[in-house]
């Protein structure tokens, strides 16, 4: 059992949970994730470790409510227990050896960017951030990231905050202006967004790392459910990833595979909620 120490609603359907898990906190690093199982009937679902506190023994996750598991989790409150939490899984991010980095997050992808920003800031590394959101209400951690980064750019679909448009518009603008000399772009968000980012950065020949949200089952490398094709080679997101060279990812496959349980998930969700 893993106790929820604090719960905070950050945006509509986006909730931050701080969970007591000292073993995970003691070895967590940015880029890694946990597998969470809410209750006895629960699915094992992956969430990025978006913060951790080794002294308090806590890990923080930022979760968007999208289906059964995240809905069940949203019913839990501070003081309640979660049945299973395992981790940290996946490879930690390695952002050493770059001189200027552009971090790009779409929507809930900010959960991956935030811990990176903290590390980069503590290492005195130069980096800018683009956060893309649907509207101003969906903005999460932007104040924290503003303080940590050199420049923060915000784009929103409806123009209610920052620039109206997509993250790709801003990236194109920055790279065209050639003012910043990025040697790495790190992008995380929905697969079509990451693909679009990679298409642009490829034109400018800038190395791009993406964080893939493959569907997972065990998270330990024993089922192949999370397999992706990187430069023609099959890799397991849970052990070799979740971060990969975005220019080598087979995006069609990633997008098809991310949808494979949609109908089944929807049916189960409707049944559970009596919809």
């Amino acid at each position: 059992m893993y106790q929820i120490i604090a719960k905070r609603v950050c945006a509509p359907e986006v909730i931050e949970y701080v969970i007591y898990a000292p073993v995970i906190a003691s070895s967590a690093a940015p880029g890694q994730f946990v597998m969470l199982r809410v209750d006895e009937n629960g699915e094992r679902v992956p969430f990025t470790i978006c913060d951790f506190d080794r002294l308090k023994g806590s890990v923080t996750i930022l979760v968007q409510t999208v289906g059964v598991s995240t809905y069940k989790l949203s019913l839990k409150n501070a003081g309640d227990d979660i049945l299973d939490l395992a981790g940290p899984f996946g490879e930690a991010t390695d952002l050493k050896n770059y001189s200027r980095i552009l971090l790009v997050a779409g929507g809930i992808g900010v959960a991956v960017i935030y811990p990176q920003a903290k590390v980069l800031n503590s290492k005195d590394c130069k980096f800018d951030v683009i956060l893309g959101v649907r509207n101003s209400q969906m903005l999460v951690y932007s104040n924290e990231i503003k303080i940590l980064s050199d420049y923060l750019y915000i784009t929103s679909d409806d123009g209610s905050v920052g620039i109206k448009g997509f993250v790709t518009d801003k990236i194109g603008e920055l790279l065209n202006a050639n003012q910043s000399h990025y040697d790495l772009v790190f992008a995380v968000g929905p697969p079509p967004m990451m693909r679009a980012v990679c298409e642009i950065t490829k034109r400018f020949n800038i190395k791009t790392i993406v964080s893939l949200n493959s569907i997972m089952l065990d998270g330990t490398g024993m089922c192949g459910c999370c397999r992706v094709t990187i430069g023609g080679q099959v890799k397991y997101s849970c052990v070799h990833g979740p971060e990969f060279d975005g220019h080598l990812v087979d995006w069609n496959e990633v997008i098809f595979r991310s949808k494979r349980f949609n109908a089944l998930e929807k049916e189960h969700y409707c049944k559970l909620r009596g919809l």
Binding site: V23, I24, S27, Q32, R37, N41, G42, E43, R44, V68, S69, K72, L83, D84, L85, A86, G87, P88, F89, L217, D218, T220, G221, M222, C223, G224, C225, R227, T229, V234, Y236, V239, H240, N252, E253, F256, R257, K259, R260, F261, L264, E265, H268
Partner: protein, 465 residues
């Protein structure tokens, strides 16, 4: 009496099989067990014992059953095999003990596996658990042992180590204990309550279990070595192989491990489970081992219209247990021998819709004494399927190779050990599928026991023999 044919296990009805995951066969009752035990000729040479990888004293336990002396029979088995209820169900007896049974030479072998299973269930029903000795006879050894993984190799090693008086902590990456016994082998062949009962008995002896802990990530291997006097690696061989053919990453193509884990570990076959599983009309299973047959029989139970199992050699070479093959055929699985898929076909949405297979023929013996096969060109044929399950073997988990620093492994990641299950690192032992690659429950248990002996030697405790 000695001329009677072998007693068969009773089976549940087809209707029950189609709609439930209930165990397919029923354990002997006492009378049948005694009757079967009396078929044993009690040969002096006891060839059956040579066939048993852990050398269970088979004639002795059978004679005790024949005398209705069940408690004492249990002790005989448990002296060398801690999990008879499991082994009685899953060991490949027809290739081991029963193969050498003198009665089998003309007629049918004594049903050694069924008798072992009877004793295993008797032991659990009567609270005689894993330990051959009671908690009061624990040795007062000093030292601590960390065990990585909770499959049969680890459980056996833990059982021996705790009896030798060491502190024992088992670390398991998943949320449930038992390794393949829990996530791989289906309920209809190995009821999970049996595994749970054995684990409870280890808890009662003082073994500590830490679930949700992936060694190498949650706790580093080097930290673990610092915290414990000895470490046993029983991490299994979970990484599924794929065939490397076109279409293998289409939706609807599962590794057997994914398919079986969804069903067994996550209980996806129950309505209340949140884990999704595809219920397909036409299923193609690729492979011929126990894993392939478990997948095929599972798909049958999940309501598939047809399940075809494609195997590239002939029935004589099928490595699965004979009983599994028989039961699969009774349940309607179609075994397509000498067939190999060469391409999987996609619909417009990235879902698998069919497969192209080629016919094969047998050729010479390979180095392991098994017939090889050759693909016959221009024999392509297409079958329709909306689910493909790939069951062509597994390798050790890449985490071991990548995160267990300084440990020597071979090219596919198997841990290298000597005949006493000692690795290249001081105080580190390994056994089971992590060492051999995918093998059997009984060989994993044998390795767990051998490692425990080495650990006892290292920690200077006294080994109970």
């Amino acid at each position: 009496m000695k001329g009677t044919p072998r007693n068969k296990l009773l089976e549940i009805s087809m209707i029950e099989r189609q709609h439930t995951f209930k165990e397919t066969t029923l354990t002997y009752d006492k009378d049948v067990a005694i009757n079967e035990a009396k078929r044993c000729l009690n040969c002096k040479s006891a060839p059956c014992r040579q066939g048993c990888p852990v050398g269970v004293n088979i004639p002795l336990f059978i004679s005790k059953i024949a005398d209705s002396n069940f408690d004492s029979a249990v002790q005989v088995v448990k002296a060398t095999n801690a999990l008879p209820a499991v082994c009685g169900r899953v060991c490949p007896q027809s290739e081991q003990c029963e193969k050498l049974c003198v009665r089998g030479k003309n007629g049918s072998a004594v049903a050694i596996g069924c008798l072992e299973r009877f004793l295993g269930d008797y032991a659990i029903d009567n609270g005689i658990y894993c330990a051959a000795v009671g908690a009061n006879t624990l040795k007062a050894g000093h030292g601590s042992v960390a065990i990585i993984g909770s499959g049969p190799a680890s459980l056996t090693c833990a059982c021996e180590c705790i009896q030798n008086g060491y502190k024992v902590v088992v670390f398991e990456a998943l949320h449930a204990l038992g390794g393949v016994l829990i996530y791989g082998i289906p309920e209809f062949r190995l009821p999970k309550r049996l595994v749970d009962a054995e684990i409870k008995s280890l808890v009662s002896l003082g073994v500590k279990f830490e679930i949700n802990t992936l060694i190498g990530r949650s706790i580093s291997f080097s930290d673990l070595r610092k915290r414990f006097d000895a470490v046993f690696i029983g991490t299994g061989a979970g990484l599924p192989n794929f065939m490397d053919i076109e279409g293998e990453n289409l939706n609807g193509v599962y590794s057997a491990n994914e398919y079986l884990t969804r069903v067994n570990l996550m209980k996806a076959y129950l309505d209340e489970s949140d884990t999704p599983i595809m219920r397909a009309r036409n299923v193609l299973v690729i492979g011929g081992g126990n894993v392939a047959f478990d997948s095929a029989r599972t798909a049958m139970r999940l309501g598939s219209k047809s399940v075809v199992l494609a195997y590239r050699r002939t029935k004589d070479e099928i490595p699965a247990r004979v009983e599994e093959v028989e039961q699969a055929e009774i349940e309607g699985v179609i075994i397509s021998i000498l067939s190999i898929p060469v391409k999987l076909l996609s619909d417009d949405n990235g879902n698998v819709r069919g497969a192209i297979l080629k016919k094969c023929k047998l050729s010479e013996m390979d180095v392991r004494g098994r017939r090889s096969f050759e693909i016959i060109e221009n024999t392509d044929y297409e079958i329709e399927c909306d689910l493909v399950i790939v069951a062509i073997g597994t390798n050790p988990n890449p985490i071991v190779k990548e995160c267990f620093s300084d440990l020597v492994t071979d090219s596919v990641g198997r841990v290298l050990v000597d005949q006493n299950n000692i690795t290249n690192l001081p105080g580190v032992y390994a056994g089971g599928d992590a060492v051999t690659g995918a093998a059997t429950v009984i060989s994993a248990m044998g390795a767990g026991r051998s490692a425990a002996k080495s650990i006892a030697r290292q920690l200077n405790g006294k080994y109970i023999n």
